[in-house]
């Protein structure tokens, strides 16, 4: 074989632009062929998930502040699920339920930055939708990014978080994309102060200085637009406007049918409303119901809770306005005529009982009652569903929409009002908090909520060493939507019946992890 010399290489150089042109042309042609091949009768499915959005703060669900006029506008041509609940009070666990159609006791992603158990990884709505779907996903939330990394090749176009961010200082996905979750923890442990000190003596200091400098630059640049800080989480800084613009443009150009999953951080803390929303509720005279401190209270004062609630509501109003802008873009593009648009959240937020945020063992309704509004292709009027629905219902609903069989292991049901499914009045839904329980062990340190009809029973189990069986709370959600009166010791017959069911459920789900 003759040797390829330096002279040969130089001779071949002028041909490079030709190859570049030819390659671009080939790419376009292949892309066009793919687009045509992917056209089918299946509708597009577009998920807009706003993180930490409690239905209890949405005007549509009776909140006194006018936080969400655009959600209401969207609902005019959609189905509103009034009793939709998440399966958990934080992202990893709740989002995994949306993806897999199962409760946390099955998918096992119930820790902060938890990941789905090995046996469940292939059981998600990206892998289970027909192959003609073009699947695209984006998230601001790194906990969701960990889950999407687990699904790997199932997502045709998984856009990295930083692509729509002003800055991020994460290295894990740049260097160790194929082992993201482990690399993420390695990086966090080595460079950042969390529950413990950083694991590096010197690099952590430089990392901190670098992040401080980045934050200062961004906040100076946007200080007028964002008076309480630019939207962020840990090392990420982003503008919601950028993500909305991108989604609006992206979905109109995607090969159809497509499944788009877009999980955006607002109104997750830190609550940083834009200047035109900041202090909009300051003088509105709204006084939330004051509730007794819970035994899991973090001792936040009522005044602080009210202030944080106001900021959250203002951030939500800003989020809603951006959603309105997206709706305008989608309407103008005509994509709503052949698409299901799903507006929901992973979990809520709490500003009561001395608890602020969602890192808590409690499962009060502001934490798990989330909005679910679905616009069907070409829907022209509003429909309302009042029966219990769960985040686990999204996967079976997608399967139903796309004429796929629903596997036995799915724990959710097809949502009422989709594909003529009737409402199920006897439905029981659950929510789980088990961050301190080992991943592959029986759930013995857990808060478990069960909602059946008007009643919600909560069992706090194993949180206190001196009382491993814990205690129960029972609320009548219709008579007492604020969950003020614990009926567990009063409503004997109801308490006993519900307790028996709840205990039975816990035994049942613990069975595979219990040594015989």
């Amino acid at each position: 074989m003759s040797k390829f010399t330096r002279r040969d290489f130089l001779k071949a150089l002028p041909a490079v632009p030709f190859f570049k042109l030819a390659w671009d042309g080939m790419e376009t042609a292949v892309s066009n062929i793919q687009t045509q091949a992917q056209n089918s009768d299946h509708p597009n499915i577009l998920f807009i998930v706003f993180d930490t959005l409690s239905a209890r703060h949405v005007t549509l669900h009776g909140y006194q502040r006018d936080t969400t006029p655009n959600f209401a506008r969207f609902a005019e041509k959609a189905t509103v699920y009034h009793n939709h609940r998440s399966t958990a009070n934080f992202t990893s666990s709740a989002t995994s339920s949306m993806f897999t159609g199962t409760y946390p006791w099955t998918h096992r992603a119930f820790h902060l930055h938890g990941t789905i158990g090995n046996g469940m990884i292939d059981r998600n709505f990206f892998s289970m939708l027909p192959n003609d779907y073009h699947k695209v996903a984006y998230t601001h939330n790194l906990l969701v990014a960990s889950l999407l990394h687990q699904f790997g090749g199932e997502v045709d176009n998984f856009i990295q978080t930083r692509e729509l961010c002003l800055a991020d200082e994460q290295f894990a996905d740049r260097l160790f994309n194929r082992d993201y979750s482990v690399a993420f923890w390695g990086e966090e442990t080595a460079l950042r102060t969390g529950a413990t000190s950083p694991g590096t003596l010197y690099l952590s200091l430089f990392d901190r200085l670098n992040r401080f400098s980045t934050k200062s630059q961004i906040e100076n640049q946007f200080s007028e637009q964002y008076p309480v800080g630019v939207p962020s989480l840990h090392n990420l800084f982003f503008l919601l406007e950028d993500a909305i613009d991108w989604i609006g443009n992206e979905v109109t150009g995607l090969p159809q049918p497509f499944l788009g999953y877009f999980h955006l951080l607002p109104p997750h803390e830190p609550y940083t409303p834009r200047a035109d929303f900041f202090e909009m509720f300051k003088q509105d005279g709204f006084r939330p119901v004051e509730k007794e401190r819970h035994q899991f209270s973090d001792n936040t004062s009522q005044a602080e809770l009210n202030r944080e609630r106001r900021l959250y509501d203002e951030f939500l109003a800003f989020t809603d306005s951006e959603f309105g802008r997206l709706m305008d873009m989608l309407e103008a593009s005509g994509i709503m005529q052949n698409s299901y648009i799903v507006l929901t959240s992973d979990h809520g937020e709490l500003f009561e009982r001395g608890i602020r945020g969602h890192v808590t063992p409690t499962l009060f309704d502001p934490l798990i009652h989330v909005p679910l509004i679905i616009s069907k292709p070409g829907q022209t009027g509003r429909e309302d569903v009042f029966s219990q629905t769960s985040a686990t219902d999204l996967l079976p609903t997608l399967l139903s929409i796309t004429d796929q069989p629903i596997p036995e292991w799915v724990e959710g049901q097809v949502l009422p009002n989709i594909s003529d499914t009737p409402e199920d009045e006897s439905r029981i839904t659950y929510a789980v908090e088990a961050k301190s329980n080992p991943k592959m062990a029986p759930l013995n340190k857990i808060t478990l909520a069960q909602v059946e009809g008007n009643h919600k029973l909560i069992h706090y189990k194993g949180h206190r060493a001196n009382n491993p069986e814990g205690f129960y709370e029972l609320y009548d959600l219709e008579a007492d939507p604020e969950e003020l009166t614990n009926l567990f010791d009063e409503a004997d017959a109801v308490s006993s019946e519900l307790k028996e069911k709840l205990d039975q459920k816990l035994n049942e789900v613990n069975q595979p992890f219990t040594r015989q």
């Binding site: 482990v182 390695g186 442990t189 003596l201």
Partner: protein, 181 residues
Amino acid sequence: MDIFKKRLPERQQLIYVFLAFAFVSNAWALYDISQEFSAFVLRLSLGELLGVYSHSLMFALVDAMFAFMLFLIASFILPTAWVRERFVSIGTSIAFITGVWMIIFHLNNLASRRNVTSIGLWLGSYILVLIAVYIFIHRNEKFHQGIANFIERLALLAGIYIFLDIVGFLVIIIRNIGGVA
């Protein structure tokens, strides 16, 4: 190249001082991650746990290299009599004293507290101890020899740390080639 030969210490001396930095960084990294063990063991499989430990060890190695390079650059720039004549004992002392003071910094979370008095005390005491030890090394031959002997003996243990770092690096590579989720 002559300038490097003239201004850089012998290879053996470089290795000893690097091992001093590696010892402190690795010991701290292992202590720090052991604090997180109970939390990790709840949610990670054995393979994932091994992966996280491997990343910590790799970061510790890079941390040690980073600090060592800074020291080396300083010794390269400064006059010969200041550092290079007693390179091993001065380098070892700096590695340990700076390491201990950085540990105090992190354990007390001084970066987050942003308390000028605390940071001033921390920095002042560090500089004082550093100067005192530096002077002592130059004036007391026994002390100088003692430190040099100490790092020679510690080299074996530090070498084990380096070996673990290399194993960690291999684990990271294998996990990424395998695409373990």
